[in-house]
């Protein structure tokens, strides 16, 4: 066989092994089983099946794409080989699992999992089916590659949208119930879990058709097209967006408004950390400390429990902001001279010190110890107390608007450009006359201020604060969302928060695997696309400066 084929079969075996290994990992950490109850297309296939098929498919496809020059028959051979190897690894897991009780060690290696992997057909027949499926996957990957670009693109889009809409079924159906006529249509498209077959077909054809039709038309950058609009149209866009944002909680209802609040809070923090990490390039892992300081200041000053002060929320807010701003300054002072890695660890240490102090018995009379502070005042406007999730959303919205505006204006200001100069080369920036002390301190303090604001609203939202909600994972959430969105990019923060924060709330199965996925996303993102989903232009250039210039000539 090696004589008349010019492809190296090793690479495809490797691709199959990789895909199979990822599929086995996803199975063994429990993701496949957790998602097996969630149908994408009702009665046809579940997200769980997608999770063990997709790795093999994608890894096979990637390997084939690297070897596009092969002849068609060789491509098919290679695809079949890679798919077979991938599914063989899964089959091996089922086989071993049926003979040895793996469950004593790997808690997710349950009969349930084997049932899902073998499509409920028992070990013997199941393994045969699995291997057949592997061949099918390989053939599909090869066939997919051989399709004309236009059709392939349309197919990809259609598949992605079916998956997405199928996963978001709960959101869409619940929201549509609030709108009488809409709900009867929606009910046709969605089943109890996932899309109906008809719904999936309609969606598939619709998205596929639209993207087939749009192929080749000039694509416009969203931000660019916005800038090119005439002023009247631009204001219309802004107005419509504003109106949608205003009525969003009414459209979504209580449950989803809470998710919206959560996302808004993280956007608020993300915008702050984006200044520190994205603009100024200072990796801060103790960002939760400022959030805690904001929330606790509100708690201390408004809760009657501690008997220190009983201000209203609005009276306490300036103190909370001031406290977090100053805390940013104080943290900034000692770490001024440090760069990169050391800074990350020291800020992490600082965050932990704050948490440990809050948790300790020593400061219990003032900070409430491990029981936290309850009965925190909620903000009121006149006689109206903002105490539902929908009402609090408006508080977030105002804060968000303000902070986003400040961040946007800061970015191209003198200060913003100084931050970027320091990020790129500290020595050169200093030689150019930038005062690195005040510039860095302002970055820390501004970031801390925004986080303190988020904390203050958070305290009002829960009416209580606990040290346990101030852990390191909050910092990691915020860091992940700005990195996935794109370091230094303001729209990136919004994108990142929508993807990372809303996903675990919308898909409850996902919540358990949240940090697993975040971690994997961070690694994959850094390896393949360090500038993030919505890159900031300058940052993109910096991150690719060591690579040979592949920037196409301006046209």
């Amino acid at each position: 066989m090696e004589t008349n084929t010019s492809f190296s079969w090793k690479e495809f075996v490797k691709a199959g092994l990789l895909g199979g290994a990822v599929a086995v990992l996803l199975s063994l950490v429990g993701m496949v089983a957790a998602f097996s109850g969630r149908y994408i297309v009702s009665g046809v296939f579940t997200m769980g099946q997608v999770l063990f098929i997709a790795p093999i498919l994608l890894s096979t496809y990637a390997a084939l794409r690297r070897n596009r020059q092969l002849t068609n028959s060789n491509l098919f051979m290679a695809g079949l080989l890679s798919g077979l190897v991938g599914s063989a690894i899964l089959a091996l897991l089922v086989l071993i699992g049926s003979m040895v009780n793996l469950r004593a060690m790997l808690i997710n290696a349950s009969p349930e999992l084997y049932g899902i992997l073998t499509f409920g057909r028992g070990t013997g027949l199941g393994i045969v089916i699995l291997l057949g499926l592997g061949l099918l996957i390989g053939a599909a990957a090869a066939g997919f590659l051989l399709l004309p670009d236009r059709i392939r693109h349309a197919l990809t889009q259609a598949i992605i949208w079916v998956l997405l809409i199928g996963l978001l079924r709960d959101l869409i159906v619940t929201v549509s119930f609030r709108w009488g006529p809409l709900s009867s249509i929606v009910r046709q498209l969605f089943a109890v879990s996932g899309l109906t077959i008809i719904g999936a077909l309609i969606l598939f054809l619709l998205v596929g058709g639209v993207s087939y039709w749009r192929w080749g038309r000039p694509k416009r950058d969203a931000a660019e097209s916005f800038n090119q609009q005439r002023p009247a149209a631009r204001w219309l866009t802004i107005g419509i967006t504003g109106l949608i944002l205003l009525f969003l909680p009414l459209i979504l209802g209580t449950f989803f408004s809470e998710i919206l609040d959560n996302v808004s809070m993280y956007i608020l923090m993300g915008l702050g950390l984006n200044i520190v990490v994205g603009f100024a390039g200072l990796l801060d892992l103790g960002y939760v400390a400022f959030f805690a300081i904001g929330a606790y200041t509100i708690g201390i000053l408004t809760s009657p429990e501690l008997g220190i002060a009983t201000m209203s929320w609005w009276e306490a807010l300036p103190f909370a902001l001031l406290a977090s701003f100053l805390a940013g300054f104080v943290l900034g002072l000692p770490v001024l001279k440090m760069r990169g890695d050391y800074l990350a660890i020291v800020t992490l240490g600082f965050g932990e010190i704050v948490r440990l102090l809050v948790l300790s018995d020593w400061l219990r009379p003032w900070l409430g110890g491990s029981q936290g502070i309850q009965r925190i005042a909620q903000p009121s406007i006149g006689p109206l107390v903002l105490n539902t999730q929908q009402e609090l959303y408006y508080l977030f919205l105002i804060g968000l608007g303000l902070v986003a505006f400040i961040a946007w204006r800061l970015k191209d200001s003198r200060l913003g450009r100084s931050w970027m100069a320091l990020r790129e080369d500290e020595d050169v920036a200093m030689a150019m006359g930038i005062n690195h002390v005040s510039t860095k301190l302002l970055a820390f303090a501004t970031g801390a201020l925004f986080s303190g604001l988020a904390g203050a609203i958070f305290a009002a939202k829960l009416t209580s604060v606990y040290p346990h909600s101030m852990n390191f994972l909050v910092s990691i959430n915020v860091l992940s969302l700005i990195i996935i969105g794109g370091m230094g990019s303001i729209p990136g923060v919004f994108i990142g928060a929508l993807v990372l924060i809303a996903a675990p709330d919308l898909l409850r199965e996902f919540a358990e695997f949240r940090y697993l996925v975040y971690g994997a996303l961070l690694v994959v993102m850094m390896l393949t696309r360090p500038e993030g989903l919505w890159p900031e232009k300058r940052r993109q250039l910096e991150l690719h400066e060591e690579e040979p210039a592949v920037v196409p000539a301006a046209d």
């Binding site: 990992l25 063994l28 950490v29 429990g30 993701m31 004593a104 060690m105 790997l106 808690i107 997710n108 390039g281 990796l283 892992l285 002072l333 000692p334 770490v335 001024l336 001279k337 440090m338 760069r339 990169g340 890695d341 050391y342 990350a344 660890i345 020291v346 992490l348 240490g349 600082f350 932990e352 010190i353 440990l356 102090l357 300790s360 018995d361 020593w362 002390v437 390191f472 990691i476 860091l479 992940s480 990195i483 695997f513 949240r514 940090y515 697993l516 975040y518 971690g519 994997a520 996303l521 961070l522 690694v523 993102m525 850094m526 390896l527 360090p530 910096e542 991150l543 400066e545 060591e546």
Partner: protein, 353 residues
């Protein structure tokens, strides 16, 4: 001269120094008060010291992983705490299997060696995979990129092991021969602690010998000096880096078993605090410096174990043990401010970091 001095000192320096002096006064004052009241007996102090040394030994072995990697790649392997967690977490299953075989208490030393080998093998494999998949492609990327990768990898590994083995606590079985204590003169020393100190010391000597006396150690030192020149001299840089990660993994895996002898419960989050403290120890001793890691770890272990009773108690802080982690982090912050080169290190933070 004086004018020069006044010009160089900025407001931030003054504030930082004032803070440092304030904390120092607090520590001294607290210690004096505690010692004067005589609340703790001499034997308590000795117990605390031994606990501190045992803890320090474990930290030293973990710190070695940070130090070796930092020395060569100039990066903080943030995921090293998970390398440390993976070994012992897996080894608890080996221990269960050995109990089922009935070897655990009939051949205790052999069992301990097997468990250590399992732990070291798992940790080393994770470390090697980590380097190969996550770090190697990023060797020339801007500094922030590998660091973020390391943080991501750390969380990925933590929650992967949580998914694989469950989020519950896995008890590490007691060994009959290591229960109770030995009496040396009038000093009482728990057997597990003695084993931890001894084990850490032996491991440390072995690793130090490897780095200083063997050919691969020489290659490691030369790569840390200058990668390009080392490559020109015919050293396979990739292989040396892999070996470094493997050595760090082995020592973390063995540290993990010693840690389980002291605190016999494994879980997916067990790496976080020891990892952070070991990093502190590495910085304290001077990162990139093997004896420094040992010294730093011992100092940190002692401060952490003796400190709460010695100076926090004297300051009238209730339940001072709650703040023992805060001591470690405060040390980290201040060592990085006042002596970033650590106790034994060259001055690195600004020049190369």
């Amino acid at each position: 001269m004086l004018r020069n001095w006044t010009q160089r000192v900025t407001l931030t320096d003054i504030i930082v120094w004032a803070l440092g002096i304030l904390i120092l006064i607090g520590v001294i004052w607290g210690s004096i008060v505690t010692l004067n009241t005589g609340k703790y007996s001499t034997s308590t102090w000795i117990d605390l010291t031994i606990t501190g040394l045992a803890l320090g030994g474990v930290y030293a072995l973990i710190a070695l992983g940070y130090t070796l990697v930092y020395g060569i790649l100039r990066m903080i392997n943030f995921a090293h705490s998970e390398v440390f967690m993976s070994g012992p977490f897996t080894a608890t299953f080996a221990a269960q299997a050995l109990i089922a075989l009935g070897w655990w208490n009939t051949y205790p030393i052999l069992s301990l060696v097997i468990v250590m080998l399992v732990s070291a093998a798992v940790s080393a494999s994770i470390a090697i995979l980590l380097e190969r998949i996550a770090y190697r492609p990023l060797r020339h990327a801007p500094r922030l990129v590998p660091l973020i990768t390391a943080i991501g990898a750390s969380f990925f590994l933590q929650y992967t092991f949580r998914g694989l083995y469950g989020s519950g606590l896995k008890p590490f079985p007691d060994m009959e021969i290591f229960s109770g204590f030995w009496l040396i003169g009038t000093v009482r020393i728990f057997k597990t602690q003695a084993v931890a100190i001894l084990g850490a010391f032996i491991m440390m000597l072995v690793l130090y010998t490897i780095v200083q006396r063997t050919k691969i150690g020489k290659a490691m030192r030369s790569v840390s000096e200058d990668k390009e020149v080392a490559a020109l001299m015919g050293i396979n840089v990739d292989r040396v880096i892999t070996t470094t990660f493997a050595l760090g993994g082995i020592s973390a895996g063995i540290a993990g078993i010693l840690y389980l002898l002291l605190f016999p419960v494994a879980h997916f989050f067990m790496g976080f605090f020891p990892g952070l403290k070991a990093f502190t120890a590495a910085v304290l001793g001077g990162i990139g410096n093997v004896p420094g890691a040992f010294l730093g770890a011992m100092v940190l272990g002692l401060l952490e174990s003796v400190g709460p009773s010695l100076f926090l108690d004297g300051l009238g802080i209730p339940a001072p043990n709650q703040l023992k982690d805060a001591i470690a982090f405060t040390i980290l912050v201040f060592i990085l401010i006042f002596r970033p080169s650590g106790l034994l290190g060259e001055r690195l933070t600004q020049a190369k970091a």
